[in-house]
Structure formats: structure tokens, C-alpha cells
């Protein structure tokens, strides 16, 4: 046994000698380090950015014409624009560009840059371009629709008199962010408006610049020395790709990172109990829902749809499985949106559900499948629903799958039930009405395939109501129109809308000033101190 003891001693000695210097680390005082899963980034070009992480990065490194107060989204203010005016006929909006502001490169921000950025996004026609093209813009006409009308004025024309709030909110989305024309065009090749270059580089004017993106590894941002606002307290912000929640928690507890962004519900409990750490919450726009495919003859019965809304134990899931990462919410517009409906008429009521099933001619229930993303949280919610559904005789089989796999099936309408999460594309109610309450063409080869289409829900009347709401210029009337649509939607739709997401971040207790906004590009760390 002598050998083994020597061996053990030697091992310990090696560890002690080489490992000992790695004592508890602290992050540099001028650097904010966040752990997040950043593998969703596919581009850093505002014309293409549509993912959570990249949106947040763009929100802190680029600026749009206008912005809104994350605490009260009805308060819209000018950023690059100093002011704006809606034409009397409602067919255009003219923006006056603020004087004396510069990009990080030192180039001045001009009306020309604004026109370039918007027309560029339309012409490149990447995923988020529809946010602009829905106003009747396309690659052919955009040069006539977005024009410079004076040394510092830009006119944005539309094909219909859309509600001004809709247009303004759409321009706050990342696709409307202003890029440095001169810098971008220096890198143009084959008429691509600098796209090949910008998707991994930076040409903005926000509080931070993007120094480097190493896919699946890190994003490094630095203080913008030419920023027109107050310089940021932090010299550097680094995102580290840490996919595993438990690992994030360990790093945070040790002080190797300042903020952990994707803790699971279990870890959140542990963080709450730790005095060195704190939790910050903010409601997000994402909605958790079940989509019931109307191609399934059982699910197509109105009583069955209604019954299923009584077979989810909403509060229990929010409290025990999600531990505060969601709140119960049962209408398609999230809280914080114009016209949001906060009624929650449904709760677990097995007797009522059984009655409804009997009315539908299914007193003994039926069998059905649900495609479930294999993340712990979605699986947890799905299993809880499976259990309560069974109490009314509905045998629900869960089909686990990877995210892209279940999504592919959902998009092809091959599912029975899909458990999904939907985040709004911009801050206006139309973004969710457009997908949950509009279905212009229910045929298999339809040109537009909103969520209502994916669940084969044919709703010409509701589609017309949603279309009318888009053109209502009085915000109060418009809000009431959306509430009316939601009241009907809540009762009749094949969507069991369950929760609104709450983003929960865990921070070291010395980190102050981090803002969790309603959408990811509103998450802001320009004023963070530690």
C-alpha cells in the first residue's frame, strides 16, 4: 500500500503546487461579465438581427431614430431623430435628425445615413425586413418611399394611413437601427451594401461598440469613445457562452462573472438564498401557449378547445415548475402592450372540463400527442399538463424533440398539439394580433403562415377585425379594438394561452443599474456600475 499512498500524495502535491494560485477570482472593476447561451447569434448586422442575444447586443451598441421608455412604453422619444410629424393624410411621417451626433467611427450621423439604413434593410430583405415592408415598401419602390427631403429631414411614406403608433414602434425594432453609411460602404463587395462585412463587424453609434464576436465563445463590447450621450461607467462588457445553468451559478457564486442570464428555476431558488447575490426580474413579451391543430377532428370541436383551457393548473405551474419565471396570462397581448387584456378566466376545473367533453360527444376523453421541446422547463410544463388532462380522460402522449425538429413539424401543420413560446417582434399590438388572430389564407400553400395558419384555424371575421385595428389612428379606440378581439379569442381560439415570461437575471449584489426591459433590445447596461 506504500505505492498508493505515495501516488496520492504526489497527486495532491501537483494539484496544490500548480492549482493553488487560482484562488477566488474577482472580475475587473471596469468590466461587466455576463454568462449566457449566445449560440443563437447568427449575425451582427441590424438588417438581419432577430435573435434574443443579438438583439440585446444591438440595443446597446446601435441607435434607432426613436426609442421608448422601458418602464412606460407609451412614452416614445427621439434618439437620432429630434422630432417627427405625421402628415395630415396619415400616409407619411417626417423625421428631423438631431444635429451634432456622431458614430463610433467619428463620422457624423446624417439624414443620408438614416435613408441608407432603412432602404438597405428593405433591399437586403433578411428575416426581419417584413417589419418595414409591411408598410408597402419593397426593393423596387423603397428609394421613392424613404427619402431625404432636406439637409436634416427624412420622409417615411406608406401605402395606407397606418396607425402612427404602429409605425413608430416598428422603427424602434433592431431592423430600424441606423448604420454608418460611409464605414459600411467602404466594405461593400458585389453590391451587398457591406452585408458580408457587417454581419461580423460593427458600424453603429450606441453607448458600446462591438469589438469581437467569437461564435459559441464570447462577445466583447467596449465603451464607445465617440458616444453622444454620457460615457458608460463600464469600459468593457463581455458575454461568455456558458450553456449550462448549473455552471453559470457556480461562476456567479465564485465571483468569476457578474451576471448569470439563463439560470433554471432550481438555481434561482438557491441564488435568492445567497446574500452575495441578488435577483432582478422584468416582464418580457414572450407568451407560452398550446397550439391545438384544427386538422385534428377532436381538437376542432369548440367544446374540446374550451375544455382544454380548464385542464391546465396555471398557478401551480407558474409557482412550482417555473418558480417565478412566468406569470399566469391568458390573452395574446402581453401585459405592457397597448390594449393588453389582463383577465384570467380559466383555472383548473376538471368537472367543468368533463361536462364540456361530454357535450362534445367525448365523455371518456380521447388520445392525442403533443410535440415538446426537450428543454427541462418546457418538458416540466408539458408533464404537468399531461397529468391534469388525464384527470378528464384525455390521454396525452408527449413527443420530445429538439427545438428545430419540433418547429419543423409545427410549421408543416403535422402536429396535434404544440407547446410553444412566442415573443413579439416589435412593441406594437399588431405583432401578436398578426400571428394569433389573423389568417388571410388557410390553404396549404398560403403565402403567409401565421400561428393561426399553423393550427389551421380559419377566421375571416377576426382577420378583418385585426386589419381594421391597424388603421385606427386614435390610440384609445385602437386599444379597445384589440381588447374586443382578445375577449373573443380567449374563449374560442385553439390557443391555450397560459403564461407571460418574466426574465429573471441573477447578479452579484454590487452590480447596479442593469435594466431588464420588455423586449431584449431594451435590456440595457449603459448605466451599470459595480
Amino acid at each position: 500500500m506504500l505505492h498508493s499512498r505515495t501516488l496520492l500524495a504526489a497527486t495532491v502535491a501537483v494539484f496544490a503546487l500548480l492549482g493553488a494560485p487560482a484562488v477566488k477570482a474577482e472580475t475587473p472593476a471596469d468590466t461587466l461579465i455576463q454568462a449566457w447561451a449566445i449560440d443563437d447569434i447568427i449575425s451582427l448586422d441590424p438588417a438581419e438581427i432577430f435573435e434574443f442575444t443579438a438583439s440585446e447586443i444591438a440595443g446597446n451598441s446601435y441607435e434607432g431614430l426613436i426609442g421608448y421608455d422601458p418602464a412606460d412604453v407609451t412614452n416614445i422619444y427621439g434618439k437620432i431623430a429630434e422630432s417627427w410629424e405625421v402628415a395630415p393624410d396619415g400616409m407619411s411621417i417626417t423625421f428631423k435628425i438631431r444635429d451634432g451626433r456622431t458614430f463610433a467611427s467619428g463620422n457624423p450621423i446624417t439624414a443620408e445615413d438614416v435613408v441608407f439604413s432603412l432602404t438597405r434593410a428593405v433591399k437586403l430583405d433578411k428575416s426581419p425586413a417584413f417589419i418595414l415592408t409591411q408598410f408597402g415598401l419593397n426593393a423596387e419602390n423603397v428609394d421613392d418611399m424613404v427619402v431625404q427631403t432636406g439637409p436634416d429631414t427624412v420622409q417615411f411614406k406608406m401605402d395606407k394611413p397606418y396607425a402612427p403608433t404602429l409605425v413608430l414602434y416598428c422603427l424602434t425594432a433592431t431592423v430600424g437601427f441606423v448604420v454608418d453609411k460611409k464605414l459600411v460602404m467602404e466594405h461593400e463587395q458585389n453590391g451587398d451594401f457591406g452585408y458580408e462585412w457587417l454581419k461580423t463587424n460593427y458600424a453603429g453609434s450606441g453607448p458600446f461598440t462591438i469589438r469581437e464576436w467569437r461564435a459559441n465563445e464570447a462577445v466583447v463590447m467596449e465603451r464607445n469613445p465617440n458616444y453622444s450621450g454620457d460615457p458608460t461607467p463600464m469600459a468593457r462588457v463581455i458575454y461568455r457562452h456558458i450553456p449550462e445553468g448549473a455552471t453559470q451559478r457556480l461562476l456567479l457564486e465564485q465571483g468569476d462573472i457578474d451576471i448569470a442570464r439563463s439560470l433554471t428555476a432550481e438555481e434561482i431558488d438557491a441564488v435568492r438564498a445567497n446574500p452575495d447575490l441578488k435577483i432582478q426580474e422584468g416582464p418580457k413579451g414572450s407568451i407560452y401557449y398550446l397550439g391545438l391543430n384544427q386538422k385534428n377532428e377532436n381538437l376542432a370541436k369548440p367544446e374540446v378547445r374550451q375544455a382544454m383551457k380548464y385542464l391546465v393548473d396555471y398557478q401551480a405551474i407558474a409557482d412550482t415548475i417555473m418558480k417565478g419565471k412566468v406569470m399566469v396570462h391568458q390573452a395574446f397581448l402581453p401585459r405592457g402592450f397597448l390594449g393588453a387584456l389582463e383577465d384570467t378566466p380559466f383555472s383548473l376545473d376538471v368537472a367543468k372540463a368533463k361536462e364540456l367533453l361530454a357535450e362534445a360527444g367525448l365523455p371518456d376523453g380521447f388520445s392525442v400527442t403533443m410535440d415538446t421541446r426537450n428543454t427541462p422547463e418546457i418538458t416540466g410544463i408539458a408533464q404537468a399538463i399531461q397529468q391534469t388532462m388525464a384527470q378528464a380522460g384525455i390521454q396525452m402522449e408527449l413527443i420530445p424533440g429538439d427545438g428545430q425538429q419540433t418547429l419543423t413539424k409545427y410549421r408543416a401543420r403535422n402536429h396535434d398539439i404544440y407547446i410553444g413560446r412566442w415573443g413579439p417582434d416589435y412593441q406594437d399590438p399588431h405583432t401578436n394580433a398578426d400571428t394569433f388572430a389573423r389568417n388571410p389564407d388557410n390553404s396549404d400553400d398560403a403565402a403567409s403562415k401565421p400561428l393561426a395558419w399553423r393550427n389551421a384555424w380559419d377566421i375571416p371575421d377576426m382577420t378583418a377585425m385585426a386589419d381594421a385595428a391597424v388603421l385606427e389612428s386614435d390610440p384609445a379606440k385602437r386599444a379597445e379594438m384589440y381588447r374586443e378581439i382578445q375577449r373573443e379569442h380567449q374563449q374560442t381560439s385553439p390557443f391555450v394561452i397560459m403564461f407571460q415570461e418574466i426574465e429573471v437575471t441573477a447578479l452579484r449584489s454590487n452590480v447596479d443599474g442593469f435594466i431588464v426591459g420588455p423586449s431584449f433590445n431594451d435590456n440595457n447596461y449603459a448605466h451599470v456600475t459595480k
Binding site: I42, A129, R240, I242, L250, T408, D425
Partner: protein, 353 residues
């Protein structure tokens, strides 16, 4: 390899070597072709829409359709494969849908991380595994043997995910002996200029000893864990090879001649057991080089395993095919290397060649 056995006819030596090389090249080419065909087909039959990874879920139909054509998905399968093959032959592995970079560039970035981890791990596994195996064989059936067996059993059966988290909890969070997940602390990130991509080597070459120590304290825990797994395998194999050798007549002869026992074990027997062991070690190394997805996830290690899994989940086929080819090349390369080592270690094989 059972033909051309006799060593006679020196005149035919050169053509025979050439013939051997040609046959080797043909085998390698065929292996790669087969690998490509199978991977390509799997990539096309998985029920994941590759366009989704590029445009996301929200893209309007016009954008979706355009990208569908851009990716060549409107062409018949054999045509897609032919186009891909032509590009690969000219050294163009295409672009990743996800990272928007050339596959070669991506792999050059992620592979060194895995290579470094795997190399340290296999060193640990070999240095610990062989003596343990020898020791267990010599003390067959006694306590030492049982201890090695139990250690090996744990190594085989404990999920690395769990061991990894446990290791972090104990050595990083509680004892502070090692640094946490990641390859290097932020503070040292920019003090090392990447040349080889192997941070230990880079920092040592540049004389950045503080950085070297930091890199070492990051790598030692995941490498020890992976090393533990290969140690479990290597020690089991060493034990059985050694038992086989120790039962041979030459060992008895040596003992009768009065050769000291340590010499019989470490020189005579181990030398003969080393031949099959080389293959075992080479294969362990190859499997480590594929990248261990779970270890890389727990330790936030930006290596090949994470890259490949992420690409697979998003049906990023160029990335999957490129990585698969690399892994194939590693296996073929290490097999060749172990064949070469055979000739060095085993005089019989040398004579045949």
C-alpha cells in the same frame, strides 16, 4: 493484410512499397467518400428544416423561398451531393449557416481547444493507466487488483456530466484549487497571442508564465476527468494484456534464469504488451479528439464537440460534414500512426515490412 508475406525478392521492394502506398491512399479515399455519403444522407433525412437555422422562424415566405434556393435545396439530392463533392475536392468546405464563417476557419478555431484538452487527458490517462494496469495484473485477485477494478468501474459507469459538476463544486467552488469553466481567465485573454491555438503551448512560447499557470489551472480539471475515463479503459486493457504475457513461457524462463522480478514485469512483459496497447491508446485518443460534448458543455469549453452538436441540432450540414471529415481523418491518421509504431515496437512486423 495477409498477402505478400515472405521477405524474399529484394528486386521487387520498391514497386511493392509504391503498391502499398497506392492501396493505402485508395482505402483512405474510399473511407472518406463513404463517410461523406452517409453523413450527407443522414443530414438530409433528419426531420429538421435547414432553412430555419438561416432565416429563423419569423421570416416571410419570400425570404424563406429565396434562401431555400440559395442553399441548393431545390435540386435533386444526388446533384446537391455532386456539387458539394466538387467543392470539397477543390478545398472549399463551404460556409456555416450559423456562424457565417468558412468551415475551415471555424474548425481552425474550435479544434485546438479540443486537441489541447484531449492531449492533456490522454497523457494523464496513459501515465496513470498503464502502471495501474500492470500493478493490478501483478497482484491479480489481491486488494490492489480490486481497487483498480472498482476505480475502473466507476470510470466506466459514472456519467461524466455529473462527475464534472461534482468536480467543479469540490475543486473550484469549495477548495479553490483550480480555476472555473472556460479556457482562460478574462484577465489573461489578451495577453496570449494565438499562434497554434493551443494556449498552453502559446503562453509557454511567449514566456507568459502567469498566463500559462492560469491556462493550466483551467485545463487540469476537465482533462483529469477525461483522463480518468481513458485511464479506466487503458488500465483494464493493460491488466489483461499483462496477465496474458505473464503466463507465457518466456516469463517462466526468465524467472528460472534469476532475472529480477521488476525487470521481468517492466521490461520483458510490458514491452510485449505494449504492441496491442498502442492501438488501445490511439483509439482512446481519437475518441477524445472527437470532442466530448458533455464535458465541453459543463466546462464551457469551446471545442469541436459543442460545435458539432450545435451544428447538428440546427441542420447546419456544411459544418457537420466538415467536422465529420476531420474526425474521419483523425481516426485514419491515428490508425496509421499506431501501425507505424507497431513496426518500431515489434520486430516481427518490422521484418514483414
Amino acid at each position: 493484410m495477409s498477402d505478400d508475406t515472405d521477405g524474399g525478392g529484394r528486386g521487387g521492394a520498391l514497386p511493392r512499397v509504391l503498391w502499398k502506398i497506392a492501396r493505402l491512399l485508395a482505402t483512405v479515399a474510399l473511407t472518406f467518400l463513404g463517410l461523406l455519403v452517409v453523413t450527407f444522407l443522414i443530414g438530409r433525412v433528419v426531420p429538421v428544416d435547414p432553412v430555419l437555422a438561416v432565416v429563423g422562424d419569423r421570416a416571410p415566405k419570400s425570404v424563406y423561398d429565396r434562401v431555400f434556393v440559395e442553399l441548393g435545396l431545390d435540386r435533386p439530392l444526388y446533384e446537391q451531393f455532386w456539387i458539394y463533392l466538387q467543392k470539397v475536392l477543390s478545398g472549399d468546405f463551404g460556409q456555416s449557416f450559423l456562424t457565417k464563417r468558412a468551415i475551415t476557419e471555424d474548425i481552425a478555431r474550435v479544434f485546438p481547444a479540443t486537441l489541447e484538452l484531449a492531449t492533456v487527458a490522454i497523457l494523464i490517462g496513459t501515465v496513470a493507466g498503464i502502471p495501474m494496469g500492470v500493478w493490478a495484473a501483478v497482484r491479480q485477485g489481491r486488494l490492489a487488483d480490486q481497487v483498480v477494478r472498482v476505480l475502473g468501474l466507476v470510470g466506466y459507469s459514472a456519467p461524466i456530466f455529473w462527475l464534472g459538476l461534482l468536480g467543479l463544486l469540490v475543486f473550484y467552488a469549495r477548495l479553490h484549487w483550480v480555476a472555473g469553466p472556460g479556457r482562460v481567465d478574462i484577465a489573461f485573454e489578451y495577453s496570449i497571442t494565438p499562434r497554434t491555438g493551443l494556449l498552453l503551448l502559446d503562453s509557454a512560447m511567449q514566456g507568459e508564465w502567469a498566463a500559462f499557470r492560469n491556462v493550466f489551472s483551467h485545463i487540469i480539471l476537465p482533462a483529469s476527468l477525461l483522463g480518468y475515463f481513458s485511464m479506466a479503459y487503458i488500465s483494464r486493457m493493460t491488466r489483461s494484456f499483462m496477465l496474458n504475457e505473464l503466463a507465457q513461457e518466456y516469463v517462466t524462463t526468465a524467472r528460472v534464469k534469476g532475472v529480477p522480478e521488476w525487470r521481468i514485469i517492466w521490461v520483458h512483459a510490458l514491452r510485449n504488451a505494449a504492441v496491442p496497447l498502442v492501438t488501445v491508446i490511439a483509439l482512446s485518443y481519437a475518441s477524445l479528439l472527437e470532442g466530448s460534448v458533455l464535458t465541453e458543455t459543463v466546462f464551457a469549453w469551446p471545442g469541436l464537440g459543442q460545435y458539432l452538436t450545435n451544428s447538428l441540432q440546427n441542420a447546419d450540414m456544411n459544418a457537420v460534414l466538415g467536422s465529420t471529415l476531420l474526425i474521419g481523418a483523425i481516426f485514419v491518421g491515428l490508425n496509421l500512426l499506431s501501425d507505424l509504431l507497431y513496426t518500431l515496437l515489434d520486430p516481427r512486423v518490422r521484418r514483414q515490412a
